[in-house]
């Protein structure tokens, strides 16, 4: 083929078509004038008119520095969270006991009950808050890409409300008593998986699991499961049972024990590892199933993998902490505002950010109205909503152009 003039378009607008700049063309060449190099300048010196009415390039924070900062803050926050609390224990005393526990030091006999509070209640609780926060944020990131919907959160597929049915059956009717201390978590996890299987079966069609079908099915299931839960709360004879059911629905880290932390941590670590290896595929999926296919990512299969992984992690998290809202919805958005939409950056920053947020929210839930404990879900919203709205307005964020 004959060599052709290289096309360089004018910036911002399409190339100019000038009759006197057509290049000589061979027989059979397309009958078009070649857009000529713009005289306005090189690409780096684009004319001001073209770009003036467009949003400026988004400012992004450097990811390594941000991640280090968040991890450092988290490292300081966990002991601080252990030190803060309602039990008439000073910050210094609590930290001293924590150090004693970590270094195998000696605890005086009169401090044993305080030591138990620090070591058996507050520390696992702070750690669980970090694990759950990280997990919810990561799953939220994955689900928003998986269904390409800004309103998606870890509970969008109806998994949380399914888990609530099982948990409330335990709390209100004392079901699954044979499982002993595992009854609540076990029932929540099993019913989460049941809900997930139901959503999966219903959302599948000949055309595959499309994002819209998934979201609609999940939402419909959510209403169905919620009404069952509500019925159970109304049917409860004991007011205290209804209260704990309510507490569970709003989320609480009060059940943290040294048994629940490793289970949740294992699920979250596995989920994070899988997502870290899938970050580029998530980018492709976010651009649409067709684009993903063209990039060698089978959307259908990838979405199935994501469905399974997010459901397992969500099920594990819901089993230990109830349904803590907001974190999985807003931390991904807030992170996108700071570092952009690339999932490699998002998945590095969102988990530590979610962990940090939840550690402090849990501290607040224990201390604000002490000795009464507030549901974590209420406080994530109380603290999160204004800061999120502020961030959104200041950075001019739309889901569209972060």
């Amino acid at each position: 083929m004959t060599p052709r003039a290289v096309l360089v378009a004018a910036h911002g607008t399409a190339g100019q078509l000038l009759p006197d700049t057509r290049t000589a063309r061979g027989e059979g060449d397309p009958p078009v004038a070649t857009p000529v190099r713009s005289e306005v300048g090189t690409p780096s010196a684009a004319p001001p008119g073209g770009d003036a009415d467009r949003p400026p390039a988004p400012r992004r924070l450097p990811v390594p520095a941000l991640v280090c900062g968040l991890l450092l803050a988290l490292l300081c926050s966990v002991p601080a969270a252990v030190g803060l609390g309602a039990a008439g224990l000073s910050f210094g005393e609590a930290l001293g006991l924590l150090r004693a526990g970590l270094t195998g030091g000696v605890v005086a006999a009169e401090d044993v009950s305080a030591y138990t509070i620090v070591w058996e209640l507050r520390l696992p609780r702070a750690l669980l808050a970090a694990v759950v926060g990280a997990g919810l944020a990561a799953v939220g990131v994955a689900l928003q890409a998986m269904v390409r919907n800004a309103l998606a959160d870890p509970f969008v597929l109806g998994i949380s409300s399914g888990a609530a049915v099982g948990a409330n059956a335990v709390l209100i009717f004392g079901a699954f008593g044979m499982l002993g201390v595992w009854a609540l978590s076990g029932a929540a996890f099993v019913s989460a998986l049941g809900a997930m299987a139901l959503v999966y079966v219903v959302a599948r069609s000949a055309q595959g699991m499309t994002p819209l079908r998934l979201v609609l099915t999940g939402t419909a299931m959510y209403y169905g499961f919620s009404s069952i839960t509500t019925l159970m709360v109304f049917a409860a004879e004991r007011g205290e049972a209804a209260r704990s059911a309510m507490m569970w629905l709003m989320g609480s880290l009060g059940g943290a024990t040294w048994q629940s932390v490793p289970i949740a941590a294992g699920a979250v670590c596995a989920g994070l590892a899988y997502l870290a290896l899938s970050a580029r595929r998530l980018n492709a999926l976010a651009m649409g199933d067709e684009t993903a296919a063209a990039l060698g990512v089978g959307a259908e299969r990838f979405r199935r993998e994501l469905f399974l992984m997010t459901a397992l992690v969500t099920g594990a998290l819901v089993a230990v902490s109830g349904t803590i809202g907001f974190v999985g919805l807003m931390v991904p958005h807030a992170t996108r505002m700071l570092v952009g939409a690339d999932h490699r950056r998002l998945l590095a920053v969102a988990p530590p950010a979610g962990a940090l947020l939840l550690v402090w929210v849990d501290v607040a839930s224990r201390t604000v109205l002490a000795p009464v404990e507030l549901p974590v879900g209420v406080l994530t919203a109380v603290i999160g909503v204004p800061s999120f709205l502020l961030l959104m307005r200041r950075r001019g964020y739309t889901f569209g152009a972060a």
């Binding site: 052709r4 059979g28 009958p31 296919a293 063209a294 972060a402």
Partner: protein, 262 residues
């Protein structure tokens, strides 16, 4: 790289969307696919870029069955610009182009200097280097198309599939995009990149394509050089329009003037 589509059929829910299509695109050729709306252009192309598995038939690249390859393997040879890009995510142009490297990267590997180099070169080739840090969604239609072509080029494909790349573009942008594609078909890979594109505008198809395939109701009804294919009879039969053929005064290629329907 040669593309051979043989006996390809797609049946969805009882409807025959594509039936027994055979199509050949030789190395370095720019092959156009034209036909009325709903004739099966997109369905056929989706089988070629693997968004859809055909009910029957094969797509082969230099003789190798594309649908038998691992998806990544196929994506290293064939890139595509699907018709609709549905995203609400605020990727930058550089991030969109970087996605083209996906089939070449291991999941755990960091982005290499070579990857970045490929992306920068691809953006440069489409004249969009100055857009790199802009938000993809803030671009005009023509700029978006150029960036998506850059993403496809970053994929280092030997075959490029485009589904109506000139949709929603003004005339200058249409010419710009097709010229870009045409230049790529001629250059890059030894033997030239093979391009298969669906086009709406028959005059653009006649002006740019080496060969045309006409598809109607899922089946190929004519193929060959544009001048041989775009006859008044075929245009009446397939598109239901009356057309006069004229020669372009400069290039000599066939161009069509349309009458009112009937």
């Amino acid at each position: 790289m040669k593309v051979d589509v043989d006996g390809l059929s797609v049946r969805i829910a009882g409807a025959h969307l594509v039936r027994d299509v055979t199509l050949r695109a030789g190395s370095g050729r720019l092959v156009g696919l034209v036909g009325p709306n709903g004739s099966g252009k997109s369905t056929l192309l989706r089988c070629v870029y693997r968004a859809l598995r055909p009910t029957a038939g094969t797509v082969r690249l230099d003789g190798e069955d594309l649908h038998a390859m691992a998806p990544r393997e196929g994506a290293r040879r064939l890139a595509a610009l699907p018709q609709e890009v549905v995203t609400e995510f605020g990727f930058t142009v550089a991030e969109v182009v970087a996605m083209g490297r996906l089939p070449h990267q291991r999941a755990s590997a960091r982005t290499s200097a070579a990857d970045r180099d490929h992306c920068a070169r691809a953006l440069d080739r489409v004249g969009a280097a100055h857009l790199a840090e802009r938000a993809f969604l803030s671009l005009s239609g023509g700029e978006k198309q150029r960036v998506l072509i850059a993403r496809a080029l970053a994929q280092e494909p030997k075959v490029l599939v485009l589904d109506e790349p000139t949709n929603h573009l003004d005339i200058a942008q249409q010419l710009e995009v097709l010229t870009l594609v045409r230049d790529r078909a001629a250059g890059d890979v030894p033997g030239g990149m093979t391009v298969l594109t669906a086009l709406h505008d028959l005059n653009l198809a006649a002006g740019y394509c080496d060969e045309l395939y006409v598809i109607a109701r899922g089946a190929i009804v004519a193929s060959g050089a544009p001048a041989d294919v775009l006859t008044p009879q075929l245009l009446a039969d397939v598109f239901g329009v009356r057309a006069h053929r004229v020669r372009h005064p400069e290039s000599g290629s066939v161009q069509l003037l349309f009458d009112r329907l009937g």
